[in-house]
Amino acid sequence: MSDAETNEAEVILETKGICRSYFRGTEVPVLRGVDLEVRRGEMVAIVGASGCGKSTLLHVMGTLDVPDAGEVWWRGKKIDHRKRRACDRFRNESVGYVFQFYHLLPELNALENVMLPALIRESIFTYWTRRRGIRKRAEELMERVGLGHRMDHRPAHLSGGELQRAAIARSLLGDPELLLADEPTGNLDAETGEGIIQLLCELSRDENLSIVLVTHDAELAKRTDRVLRLVQGALIEEGADDVLPVAGHLDESPSSMAC
């Protein structure tokens, strides 16, 4: 996505002054008034040192965590983190999650894991009437991520790359507009990670999907539309050149030392 296109696209998610602290013997502020806009079809990378609050910000954006102060807006409507049902529905229908450790349920096979958001959404009765459509969509996504031949396999029988591809397919089942990815290549070797990066880029480009990803992977960050560095609890937008690591790792860039 070009800069011009990015600026013209509609803002789908916005955070205003997000603050979040943790109590670790004493109050430790992690996010100190984070403002962020994510536009339709945009791919944003959030980088920063370990423990600086990247994942926390992602969790607040996806309503998994509740901010101490600040607001999250979705398509012009403020999200109330205290309304559990609305947040559950938001996570199920509007957002897709991808985690560093894949997080597939070991009791279900790959296809069932991909179908899981729909299984959560549908009651036993509505599922019965829509089961063919759900299954067909899940199979399409499995094919899309290159796992058409591994549908019946349990997670224990899949490689790391396959697990992450299945997790991405799962996150896409509800046709979300926003994908939140927490270090999606963090647990993969370089070659497998490259495959995942390519897949995410294709999805953003082809499906016009917004992706916010937290990463330490310079290669991945380099290929996003924007890179934001979390420093002392606030986001700083960086130019593409700035994020290129000195020794291949983003945490080693000078600005990360301040976090």
């Binding site: 998994l64 985690f99 899981l116």
Partner: protein, 445 residues
């Protein structure tokens, strides 16, 4: 939908939870078997007591009895005649029984209850005939000496003094009075057989009771399989006992069989109004055996409470295993919540899982319990053959076989209780799972 899918998957993949299934199954099985055996005992005992006692009993408040029983029976007929099928007078008094066993060369003297009856009348109001060992007497109860008794007397004629002749009156002796079984014996040994003679001693009726004795010939044995009766009762003809006790036509009881047993309370009420309570005590057979029946009922209730703790223990097993599973599944719970599962939905997974474990355990428990109950005597026999251990000695329990009776409603209650406990045991772990914060759950490794 995910709740059902995960419940079924946990059931087939979490093998540790199968221990809960086994404990529920064993609890349900034990409760079904014990309840069936106790229910069988109770039912058999009720049938026996009912058969011996008849539906309603009008008793004299004194051992001297009441005179003119025909007139009393007319008054009973006038009050509730339309509900009566049969009735018969009887005398029941304490006495002593004395006899000699020639084989052992020993004499026996025992306290007994002497019952004077009209055998046909007694058979009409209860199951008197069914409890007599001689087949002829079972069909047509009588105090006449039958073929077996006559034969025995002919063979052992030298034991009797011919000048005394055959005693005029016959008697039917309780089976336990007439037999014994040694510790290494497999069959009962008869101390006294039909054809032999006994001496009974009782007291006369009237102001000053005086002891009276007479010889009687044993004509049969009475076996109800109720120890209380078989070890105490000696039956003799009503008229003979009236004569010995110098009672005239007096009797101590009138036994009544009703057309419909359900009318018993109404009949008792009507007769209490019709007969003066100073002389007559009217009660149903259940009233008469009230303390015994109540004791059995209380015993069954207490046993059920104790046995229910077995299932409660299984419940604690489910609780412990579920806590472990929730702990183990913390990250999965986080994933489910991240994908939009509600707290209630997550809670329902574990509640449903507990319920299914209880259901599966109960189904297997019912199958096993019913199978054991239906084949309990064969199982007892097999154990006896293999180990020599007699689980159900007839001389103690006094039934030839274990009288198990399966009550479907009892099974339903046991299953309902097991399901309730299984579901209740999973409540705490389910609440804990639902309260897990997704962020912390996902961070859990």
């Amino acid at each position: 939908m995910y709740k059902h899918l995960l419940c079924s998957r946990y059931l087939t993949t979490r093998y540790i939870a199968l221990f809960s299934v086994v404990s529920v199954m064993l609890g349900v099985t034990t409760m079904i078997v014990v309840n069936s055996v106790m229910g069988g005992f109770r039912q058999r005992m009720l049938e026996r007591l009912h058969g011996i006692l008849s539906d309603v009993i009008v008793e004299s408040t004194t051992m001297d009895g009441f005179r003119h029983p025909d007139e009393i029976m007319s008054r009973i007929n006038a009050a509730v005649g339309d509900k009566i099928e049969a009735m018969t007078p009887a005398i029941e008094v304490f006495g002593m029984l004395h006899f000699q066993n020639n084989g052992l060369g020993q004499t026996f003297t025992r306290p007994v209850r002497l019952v004077g009856v009209d055998p046909k009348g007694r058979a009409a109001v209860g199951e008197f005939g069914d409890h007599l060992l001689n087949a002829d007497n079972s069909k047509d109860p009588s105090f006449e000496l039958r073929a077996d008794g006559k034969e025995w007397r002919e063979k052992n004629a030298d034991l009797f003094d011919p000048k005394f002749g055959v005693p005029k009156a016959g008697s039917i002796i309780g089976y336990q009075i007439a037999t014994f079984r040694g510790s290494n014996m497999f069959e009962d040994q008869f101390l006294i057989r039909p054809g032999q003679e006994v001496v009974i001693t009782t007291v006369t009726a009237g102001r000053k009771p005086e002891p009276v004795s007479d010889r009687l010939v044993v004509v049969d044995h009475f076996r109800s399989d109720m120890s209380e009766y078989d070890s105490n009762y000696v039956f003799m003809p009503l008229k003979e006992l009236q004569e010995r006790r110098r009672m005239g036509d007096a009797v101590t009881a009138i036994q009544i069989k009703l057309k419909d047993e359900a009318d018993s309370p109404a009949v008792v009420g009507a007769l209490r109004a019709a007969l003066p309570p100073t002389f007559f005590h009217v009660q149903t057979w259940e009233d008469k055996q009230g303390p015994l029946l109540q004791a059995v009922k209380v015993e069954a209730a207490i046993l059920n409470i104790i046995l229910f703790f077995i299932i409660a223990v299984a419940g604690f097993g489910i609780l412990a295993i579920f806590y472990m599973i929730v702990y183990e599944k913390t990250r999965d719970i986080g994933i489910l919540k991240a994908l939009g599962a509600s707290n209630v939905g997550v809670m329902n997974i574990f509640l449903g899982y507990g319920f299914i474990l209880g259901l599966v355990g109960s189904v297997f428990g019912v199958i096993l319990g019913v199978s054991i109950t239906l084949n309990i005597n064969e199982i007892e026999e097999t154990i006896y053959k293999w180990t020599g251990l007699e689980l159900f000695p007839p001389d103690i329990y006094y039934f030839k076989e274990i009288p198990a009776q399966l009550d479907p409603m009892t099974v339903v209650w046991i299953v309902a209780g097991a399901l309730f406990i299984a579901a209740a045991a999973s409540v705490l772990p389910a609440i804990r799972a639902s309260k897990l914060r997704p962020v912390e759950a996902l961070r859990y490794e």
